[in-house]
Symmetry: D2
Subunit: 146 residues, 4 copies
């Protein structure tokens, strides 16, 4: 019961956040799943998302990870913001690729949280290739999401 409540709070937080998040929607991001401390976001890399080398702009790969991080750290019913993040690029994304950003909580202490997000390219056959590893640092503001 308490666990179901946690999932319900997480789901509602994600819907509230993404419902208002015109940036993420404009980039075509969609919620794949959400649970307390976790979220998966999908995004298709479009022709208008590539940089000077024909590869997905690093900031946009970071954006999908940042959205998954934001959803995951807002699953407890408290307004929580990003204090910062680090990202390492491993492979390039290309136009047409479907990417998943999967956020999992590493730690929470007081109002601080640490979340790891793995960005993968989902292969047509079903496998996944890691494109980037992201680690986000969050701060709760201590007030309810409304």
């Amino acid at each position: 019961m308490a666990e179901e409540d946690g999932y319900e709070v997480a789901r509602r937080g994600a819907e509230t956040m993404l419902g208002r998040d015109v940036a993420s929607r404009g980039l075509g991001m969609e919620l794949v799943e959400v649970a307390p401390g976790r979220a998966v976001i999908a995004m298709r890399i479009r022709d208008d998302m590539v940089n000077g080398y024909g590869l997905c702009h690093g900031g946009l790969l970071a954006s999908v990870a940042d959205t998954a991080f934001a959803v995951a750290c807002n699953t407890y019913g408290e307004v929580t913001v990003a204090a910062g993040f680090d990202i390492t690029f491993l492979e390039s994304g290309r136009a047409g690729d479907l990417v998943h950003a999967s956020a999992v909580e590493r730690a929470r202490r007081g109002r601080s949280g640490l979340y790891d997000v793995t960005v993968t390219r989902v292969e047509p056959g079903g496998g996944e290739v890691v494109l980037a590893e992201f680690r986000g640092r969050s701060r709760s503001l201590g007030k309810p999401i409304s």
Copy 2:
């Protein structure tokens, strides 16, 4: 003379990169200045760039910093890619804000480089408020930009 050449190489590298970078142009980014190891990029935060809290999406603030970083690390005539970056958010951006991302080189050793990018909001009166501090890690691929 050698210095002028360096500026000319930097300017051409920036034009080549940004000319092809549909992602940065789609986000309204413009080159303000470029020199060897340095670049300033401007972006106006649009209504379609805000997140679930009405603030500029962190990934898009990171994107303008990432573009300034990419231009700065490609000013030596060699194709250079982002290996990763870290960003710390200090203030929120809002729709209508004009932001500048100013990249300066910290270090280059062999094919690795380190660049600091400060993202500021340019105030109508002329001052600047720091929104984020970004540090990018680059790797040269050792082949000429063409």
Copy 3:
């Protein structure tokens, strides 16, 4: 057979590295386990390792993580060095605490690697409390460990 070889290469690499690593030995570090891409290092926080607030110096907590990272990224028989790392402190360590630094490989691409190291305090009863999360970036030099 091939897998056994990998474990043997890992064990020999760790012994070679730690055998010469007077800094890690001087800090009382000991190898707990090693496998390809993984390593666990133990260290007892001594009275001479605390800072101005009576807590384990952050640099020394980072040092035990850095040693675990160094061992883990040198398990493939190639000389590999740290390009950098990020650490987040979650709880303080105190004199007398036994800490474990457990390194696992996140990714390897070409000569670059990414390793996550969790630093825990091992409780007398057997549980573990996370003190810090560390993420290390490695570069192989492409020559054999000898």
Copy 4:
């Protein structure tokens, strides 16, 4: 007058911290200078500080940077702790090298601070070679140093 007070508060904070910091003293660190938001720490790399490749242990280079960071972020009279840091290694240190870690404040917002620390090898002739770039994230606990 107010400025002198700031310098006096900084100097006293540094003396209080370093006076108790047995770890930093055990590593031979010495305060070179301190001012509000700034500090320089010197350390001579000893024979017992080298790793398995005969180079200064990365964790110990990080330790001198971490001490400079700790002193710099405690110059305002409030107990301030490290939330985390990132370090990039550019050159190796060797036994006998004199290193300086110079911390400068990048930003403070509320209880959070960001400090850049450059670790250099001081050449006998007087020049300095950058060994590492460190960026520290601090949190004030909101109580006076005593």
